[in-house]
Amino acid sequence: MFQLNYFRWPEKTLSARSSMKLGKKILLIVISVLFVSLSISSAVLVVNFKKSYTEALLTGSYGLGQSLNSIVTELLSLGLPLESFTGMDSKCAQLLKNNPHITYAGIADISGRILYNGDSSLVGKVMTDKVMKTSIASLKPITQLYRRFDGLDYYDVTIPIIDAANVHLGMIRLGFRTTVVNDKVFTALLQVIINFSISFIVIAVLLNYFISRFVTRPVISISEHAKEIAGGDYDVNLAVTTGDELGNLADSINRLSCEVKRNTCDLEAANSELKLKLIEREAADLELTRYREHLEELVEERTAELHQRSAELLESQQALMNIVEDLNEKSADLQEANSRLQEVDRLKSMFIASMSHELRTPLNSIIGFSSILHDGWIGPINAEQKENLAIILRCGKHLLNLINDVIDVSKVEAGRIESVAEEFDLQGLVDEAVSLVRKEADGKGIFLRVENVHLQMRTDRRRLLQCVLNLLSNALKYTESGGVTVTSRLVPGAGEMLDTMELCVTDTGIGIREENLPRMFEPFVRLASPLQSTVPGTGLGLYLTRKLTVDVLKGDITMTSEYSRGSCFTIKVPVRLP
């Protein structure tokens, strides 16, 4: 599993480039450069040599010509005509003899006729070639390349002869072979090549020695040692002490060798450790594989369970949705039923309200007429008649109270009683209520006491009176001994609370059992008591009183009672109706 392949040396990389040795390569490069540079410099040298040699020859030729010209000029100044000079031919011949490279020398007149020449056979000839024409035309010394009648090439120098009167009389001409220059140049070139070859060989040999001594051998040594290191022999120590880059390279390789040796040791240690860990890991892998298989089983199991749960949930959801739908339907039905009920309720209230007048009108007549009969206004009546009339009267009044209560309850429940606020003194209200029941209290022989209850109020007097009257007549009904007391007090409001009037009607009557207290303000509740059959009542009095106190007077009613000891009803209403 683990391969230490980073230790392999890429052997083919270098040999693939070139099979030539490093020393030979350097030698080849140096020699090539040397050869090219020497060749170029030699060529330049030869060309320059040729040019300067030619110029030197020409200058020499001019000098010779000028010397001849000075003789000619001297002779002319003596008054001698140009064509009559003596000894000029010998002069020319002598010049040729002294300067062996000069091939010809002579003097010609302005028409091109040869007057004097080193070769006397040419004297008298007229030259009409192109070079002669140029010579005749020139007033200054000139040089021309001249192919002579013998078919050979010459450098020709022409010096014009001009007398004292500045008349162009003729010219001196002399020439030498172009081959004279070329021969000289060839000789020089040969010398250069010989020198070049000798120095070339010497430089090559020296170079070869030095390269071998300072480059090739150390490199080979380093290479050999590197091979040994690659082969695993790290104890090799390179002894290259050239002190240059190669020396540094050798040092580096020595250090590298040490480092590699140490690293190899470390690596071997690490490797064996790794092998150990590998074994451990394989064991762990095996364990993991086993565990995974188990896990897969577990996951499958759980997935199946989840699917089942999901299906169940979906079912439940569907069921729930059905229920919700059902409920929505039911709700709609209920709303409809509710609105129908409200309508029915309204009709009921209307019916009761309109019935009240119709019921009460005849009842009023029954009560009114029986009361004047009973009082003997119409005529005397006997005791039995009076008793019967009293029964009619009592039942009529009871029926009237019943009807009034029912009407009031239905009005309150329908929300059709609106409060009418007016200013009044509570004392007056209580006195009025007491005066209406005074007769009953006196008849039963019980006391009816009112403590000072002066308080200026602004609320619905009529409804408050009704409430107080109800409580008073209730208290009197169920009290056989002792009496009834009415008290009141002002409870100042705190903060946003309004000032409240508390009015208590306390009796010493039969009281109410504790378990019956919560039912006291419910409609048509009449408790079983020894007095039930004899005490008239509708069962609506307290219910109506509570309704009026809460809904119309915006207050509250509470009660406390002790069985067979008496009761206390308390009305709490705002002093000023909000």
Partner: protein, 124 residues
């Protein structure tokens, strides 16, 4: 014998009130419509008038206004009798020029006493 006027369309009630007033020693004249009542009030100038508010033809309030407007006698006490359900009309009743109003049912034994209280006559 002082004359008093009762305006009431319900004959039973009229009869009962008449008993009470006659029992107290008044001479009673009656009308069963608002129009008749107004005419009689102006013509007879009764000591006081007891009238039902709920009347056929012109109602009690209109009748009171006409009586007051006639100028015959603006000071005749007028006692209105209202049905139990009309308590909210109290302000309107007084505004029409009524002296007092009693709610039904009428107690024949005490009504005259109450009228006397209102018009300021001590028991006779």
């Amino acid at each position: 014998m002082k004359k008093v006027l009762v305006i009431e369309d319900n004959r039973d009630n009229l009869r009962l009130i008449t008993y009470s007033l006659e029992h107290a020693g008044y001479g009673v004249i009656c009308a069963v419509t608002g129009e008749d009542g107004v005419e009689m009030a102006i013509k007879e100038r009764p000591f006081f008038i007891v009238m039902d508010i709920n009347l056929p033809g012109i109602d009690g309030l209109e009748a009171i206004r006409q009586i007051r407007a006639s100028g015959a006698d603006g000071t005749i006490p007028i006692i209105a009798i209202t049905s139990y359900a009309m308590s909210g009309d109290r302000d309107r009743i007084f505004a029409a020029g009524c002296s007092a109003y009693f709610e039904k049912p009428i107690d024949p034994l005490t009504i005259v006493e109450r009228i006397h209280e209102v018009i300021g006559i001590q028991g006779r």
